[in-house]
């Protein structure tokens, strides 16, 4: 608008006019759009609008589900699940958002999580050597938590198998020799994709029925190369789906990019909920009083 007024008076575009247009653009960029110069009231309302936007989308995909920035603390649950036990030491688990709701009789929570460990590095500053801890992220993505429709004692974990596809039966033999918890299942495709560990092989077969195996394989196909993991413990299903994308993050500087990423987030959320529905997480096959006992 300011440029329009300028041309109205100047009549033609002179070098001075161009300079003034540039100055106006710069002013506009720094003082009108930069987050630092926006009043707190505007920022609060932007976050509120963003939250409402996400909730509109979540509610459209999964009626009854809501997104919140506050998420449950998962440290204890992750430790109990043994989800990351097989590949890295986990020292911190951070949650920064949660989509929660009910699916039939089950509570479902999709928690945006980052987990990792601390690594000590030594830096040379002048003549001094300074040690400091840096964060190494092992997992960044969604942790899907739901009531699993089977009641069992023990635990089962699924981790990606990077060795068997290369070494074949040698990898299986080696695993059987050194890992007392390794379990083999009858589905060859599943065996190639995942390492299954369980407190008891019968529990593993009970939890991973033929239909559940197919569901997990379908989810893996949808995710492509991403290394999905899973854990089943105390009637709880925990799926870890790595995702380095925006994950419902607020990007005030790039609202159009955020809108585009919303579409992807919606697709991922839809896929995850479809898998949970396939696994019949909302249907308990035991009575509530039995579970409480």
């Amino acid at each position: 608008m300011a440029a329009g007024i300028f041309f109205q008076f100047a009549g033609k575009l002179t070098p001075l006019g161009l300079l003034l247009v540039g100055a106006l653009a710069l002013f506009n960029y720094y003082f009108l759009t930069d987050e630092r110069f926006k009043p707190a009231r505007y920022k609060a309302s932007a976050a509120d609008v963003h939250l409402r936007g996400i909730n509109e989308m979540v509610g459209f995909i999964a009626p009854g589900f809501r997104f919140t920035r506050s998420a449950p603390q998962l440290d204890a649950l992750v430790a109990k699940s043994r989800l990351f036990e097989n590949f890295k030491k986990i020292e911190f688990v951070r949650e920064y958002g949660c989509i929660a709701g009910r699916m039939g009789a089950a509570d479902v929570a999709i928690v945006l999580t980052r987990a990792g460990y601390y690594r000590e590095v030594t830096e040379t500053i002048g003549n001094r050597k300074v040690k400091r801890k840096v964060e190494e992220i092992c997992f960044d993505g969604y942790l899907v938590l739901a009531d699993f429709p089977r009641k069992f004692d023990g635990w089962v974990t699924l981790a990606p198998d990077h060795i068997e596809s290369r070494l074949g039966w040698l990898a299986t033999e080696w695993r059987e020799l050194r890992d007392q918890f390794a379990v083999r299942l009858e589905n060859q495709d599943f065996e190639r994709e995942f390492v299954v560990r369980a407190s008891d092989p019968v529990v593993a077969h009970y939890v991973l029925s033929a239909s559940t195996i197919e569901d997990v394989l379908n989810l893996k196909r949808r995710l492509g190369e991403r290394a999905m993991m899973g854990a089943f413990f105390e009637s709880t299903l925990m799926l870890a789906i790595p995702e380095a994308g925006t994950k419902f993050a607020l990007n005030g500087d790039e609202p159009t990019a955020w809108l585009a990423s919303c579409e992807e987030d919606a697709f991922r959320l839809q896929s995850m909920l479809r898998v949970l529905a396939d696994m019949k997480v909302g249907e308990t096959i035991w009575r509530p009083e039995e579970r409480a006992g």
Binding site: R184, P201, V202, H205, Y206
Partner: protein, 189 residues
Amino acid sequence: MSIWFMIAGAVAVLGFVVIYNSLVGRKNDVETCWGAIDAYFQKRSDLIPNLVSAVKTYMTHEKDLLEKIVQLRERASRSPHTPEESSNWDGQTSQLLKTIMVRAEAYPELKANQNFLHLQSSLNEVEEQLSAARRAYNSSVTSYNNGVEMIPYNIVAGIMGYKRKAVLTVSEAQKEVPNLDRLFGDRAG
């Protein structure tokens, strides 16, 4: 030269120990899995008297069926449970239980009985656990059989006298789907 012989001997002994331990581990896995199946058989057998007492007042026309399942349970509790022997009566018991559940559909009062509903869900649960235990057993037997037949495991297995084990197969009785027309045809007629 003698050093090479000693190294070769040490490698052979180490290899033998590793293979021996692996085979013993696999054999023990098979036995553990069979133990789990046996425990579930027992659990199912324990539910049968309760089921019979719950349904007998309603299912007066199914006296033969109930007597048959009680006899089968008694026979099963008397005989030793080996994988080879169990297949037959396990299949028959499963089939009879399935038939009772299907016939119960014709008795609305029985279907509304809380005790029966609880027993029904317990039996379903045990059947699922039993099915998982059978799959775990078959998986451990396959691993054991691979060990017994693959080179160089088969050499050690031969020395230890280990032989192939049979996997559990679904009996003809279990494969059979209850014939609803036959079950309810008589009553309708």
